[in-house]
Amino acid sequence: MSGLTLRLKAPATERINLDGITPAKLASLAAHEIARLNVGIEKNGLTLGDAFEISGSPSETLTIEGSGAALDFVGGGLDGGTIRVVGNVGAYTGRKMSGGKLEVRGNAGNFLASGMTGGTIHISGNAGDNAGGFIPGDRFGMLGGVAVVGGNIGARAGEKMRRGTIIVKGKTGENAGTRMIGGTIWAEGGIGPLPGLMMRRGTLIGPSVDSLLPTFVDCGKHDLVIVRIMSRYFKSTLGDLAPKPMPLFVQKIGGDTAAIGRGEILLPAN
């Protein structure tokens, strides 16, 4: 495979922080400098060369093989090019990503796509809690881009999310869209219990919802042009990863009226 390849030498004995390990950054460094990059979080100063066998030459594509859940911040700060990962990844995958493409053949940990502003993430498996959510110190969660999760995602997806889209082929956990400010979570397998706690704006779309907060209200059945736009946009940009289009008429459930109530949960109209 073309480009630089990092193969994990042995199962990690400490968390490995790959924040900022991007194709562009590696392309700007000499081989010995790449190997000396600090990726550890303990005082022994674990380097990229200690943790990974490094082969190939830098290009617009970076491949990480033999990955495991101890690898945090994979794709952190990615602004262009492609990172392909074979195996699971840890927390903060795609953190503050602004462009490019991150493909993970495996599961992702918590806080997937937090602070992401652009680009595309595709996780073939499941993702943990707080996907697209904010972390303490951040003002917002996800701010742009698209994250596609092939399986399910955990609780509180999209917490304080402001823009961008999370597409879930499976189901969301509880409290998806908590304190959501904008953006879209489209769960093809259904929306978990009690979504949208204190959400201000934003959209949750799915075939069903497990249970609703009492502060969400039925706004009726509508043919919404914006749903057509979203369906066509995702089909044109994501191809086969795009969610199946919603039926012409959707049931709009508005809320959270405990906040300003401009958010919505869209379900197929019966």
């Binding site: 742009g144 823009r163 961008g164 889209t165 904008g182 879209t184 704006r201 959209t203 509508h222 043919d223 919404l224 042009v225 914006i226 057509r228 736009i229 979203m230 369906s231 066509r232 946009y233 940009t237 401009r262």
Partner: protein, 300 residues
Amino acid sequence: MSKTVNGVAIDDTFAEAFGMTGTGIIITADSMKWARIAATVATGFGTSVIGAGAECGIDRELSPDETPDGRPGVRILMFGFSPDALVPQIRNRIGQCVLTSPGSACYSGLKASQSIGLGKGPRFFGDGYQTAKRLGQSRYWRVPVMDGEFVIEEETGVTTDAVGGGNMLILGNDRAGLLETAEAAVEAIAKIDDVITPFPGGIVRSGSKVGAKYSGMFASTNHAFCPTLRGTVKSELGPDTLAVLEIVIDGLTSKAVADAMHAGLKAVTDTGAKRGVTRITAGNYGGKLGQHHYHLKDLI
């Protein structure tokens, strides 16, 4: 020296056109009928930039596959002196004519390096109930209205490389035949993308010259081309000319205007002679005012 094509004399002259600012807007609706209604109203009173503020027209109809929401649509073009001059035109025309039209939605109809507000004004009709959805580089405003939501994209592209004032004057000895020929030319021009013919039905019967004897008039009748004045003024018309009709063309690019003029000239020369068309000429100011010159002999 003029040349004759299929019995129609083509003057050795040129149309003088000016650099303008242009933008494109897509209007969709539940049916082509309603997209067309909204587009027609939005481009109404959009004939001359001097008197109407902008020159507007329908570029073409769009199939559902060509629109952002998969519904039938119409692409309209608007031309003005500058991007700033187009801002109030867009705000008022979209706000009054598209926002109000049943089932309508409105999107960017031009990709360009510069952009101009499209939904920036109309969105405030939502009175705080409007919400936005950003997809890629586009932001779509959703304004609650009585038949659902009016969706409008925040910005559309704008180009300062547009051209306004491409023209041809068709002269003949049969007024009805002349009008039929001009209609055929407008139909041929309508098949060219990125151009409009902003006057009623695409045809002007009141060609103008710059200035007037009255103060405050920017333009007045082009008396040299008025057949009823022939003999009393220095006329451009021969003794057999009974009427003159003009087609004015605005385009997003100079090439589009040239292509449109070619199509229009061909339509006139193909069938004009048997309908009483005798001559084609073009309007210019001696070549000193407009940056774009379209020589008829090069386009026929």
